[in-house]
Amino acid sequence: MARTHITTVINGDEVDFLAEDSTSLLNALRDEVGLTGAKEGCGTGDCGACSILLDERVTCSCLVFAPEANGANILTVEGLADAGELHPLQQCFLEGAALQCGICTPGFLIAAKALLDKNPDPTETEIRYALAGNLCRCTGYDKIVRAVQEAAMQMREQ
């Protein structure tokens, strides 16, 4: 099977990789690029565990064909921390125990970042709607929502 050469910017770095046309961007990121932060939960766009920012829009990478990403700017959970220092969202998820098994966490972090990029001071309702595309079977969501509120507050104070 012929593989297509795909040129992207991922987490600020130029990254070229090869992938079969029918491969999902999620599988290409995991298997070709070696970024295994984004997870496959459902493979149908329902659970959000594969969320990435694709040209600054939060997207399920399982629903993107790898060649579609040619020329795109991608942010995965691996790009959130800055020079070894955790992003406030990551720190607040840790401190607030907003994760248990951790499979959904990269997707929640990316979706929460997308929300705070657009709306630095969201209400609890806005947070819950913005995270409706992310499923968590462990936490019951309250700790996640509180972690996002705490991170938003810290980021506004910075």
């Binding site: 029918s22 766009g45 969320s51 694709l54 829009r57 629903l63 064909f65 997308a114």
Partner: protein, 289 residues
């Protein structure tokens, strides 16, 4: 499967004509699960998002033009569009999650052919037309005529929707879309109701449109309700007629989301509420569009 990203309508058309097993897609939010589920196995995946006019949102003094592959988030984020067509904007904002709305499009929502497609009743009550390109040239088709049954459209295999045309809303006009689902977000409509109302200077209804989704094999117009509304102020008696007419046009399925009786009753309730919201918006939109 091979991926192709034509950069013009002509290139896409000739690609589709020369490869019988090619399938166009926009946001891929429906086609990926369909491929995984074995319901589709195209040889060529034709990505329409690299064609400029497919991803655009513009207006002049006569109409809005919405590229068929434009992500729905661009409609909900566009203030001028959302003020003029709040019903289409709120329907677009109900299609899946934020993740889905970064990719989902009006063209995909229509051509996937789901009876429950949220944007379709909202487009229909606004008289939206679809510009369809094919090897024999372009044709302009009313959105209400595109879907012919669940998963079925009037498009030939080498045709695709380029863009939608929506006439500018006259003053004293408002629209609305309401959806009932078992949870608050991320589900498929049990019933969807789109309404549009234009008022006369005296405050009575001069023109009305009502369309229901998820209650029949295709989205249906409720003409009996539309006729009953004309010349009224949508008073209680008229709304009772609207609700009864809405329930009467239903020909729904019985499934885990709702029984036939439940869908029929909810159709009446949502129809009334959608008309009332459209009325209220029409009253607020006096003068400049």
């Amino acid at each position: 499967m091979k991926y192709a990203a034509p950069s013009s309508v002509e290139e896409a058309t000739s690609l589709l004509s020369s490869s019988p097993s090619a399938q166009v897609f926009a946001g891929a939010t429906d086609i990926v699960p369909q491929i995984h589920g074995g319901r589709q196995a195209p040889e060529v995946l034709v990505d329409l998002k690299k064609i400029d006019e497919l991803v655009s949102l513009t207006s002049d003094d006569k109409k809005w033009t919405v590229g068929a592959a434009t992500p729905t988030v661009e409609l909900t984020e566009n203030q001028a569009f959302s003020q003029e067509f709040p019903g289409i904007s709120e329907a677009a904002g109900l299609i899946g999650s934020d993740q889905i709305q970064s990719r989902s499009s009006l063209g995909g929502n229509l051509c996937n052919g789901s009876p429950a497609a949220d944007s379709v009743p909202a487009m229909m009550v606004n008289g939206t037309r679809a510009l369809i390109a094919g090897p024999k040239g372009n044709r302009l088709v009313d959105v209400s005529e595109v879907v012919t049954g669940p998963g079925q459209t009037c498009l030939d295999s080498d045709e695709f929707v380029v863009e939608f045309e929506i006439d500018r809303a006259p003053s004293l006009t408002g629209d609305a879309y309401l959806r009932m689902i078992p949870r608050t977000e991320m589900d498929i409509a049990v019933v969807g109701a789109g309404a549009r109302v234009t008022l006369a200077e005296d405050g009575t209804i001069a023109a009305a449109a009502l369309a229901l989704g998820a209650v029949a094999p295709t989205v249906v117009r409720v003409t009996a309700a539309e006729e009953a509304l004309i010349g009224t102020t949508a008073d209680e008696d008229t709304l009772a007629v609207v609700a009864a007419a809405a329930s009467a046009v239903c020909n729904p399925i019985d499934d885990k989301r709702g029984t036939i009786a439940y869908r029929e009753q909810v159709a009446g309730v949502l129809a009334k509420r959608a008309v009332l919201i459209a009325m209220e918006r029409a009253q607020q939109r006096n003068g400049d569009v």
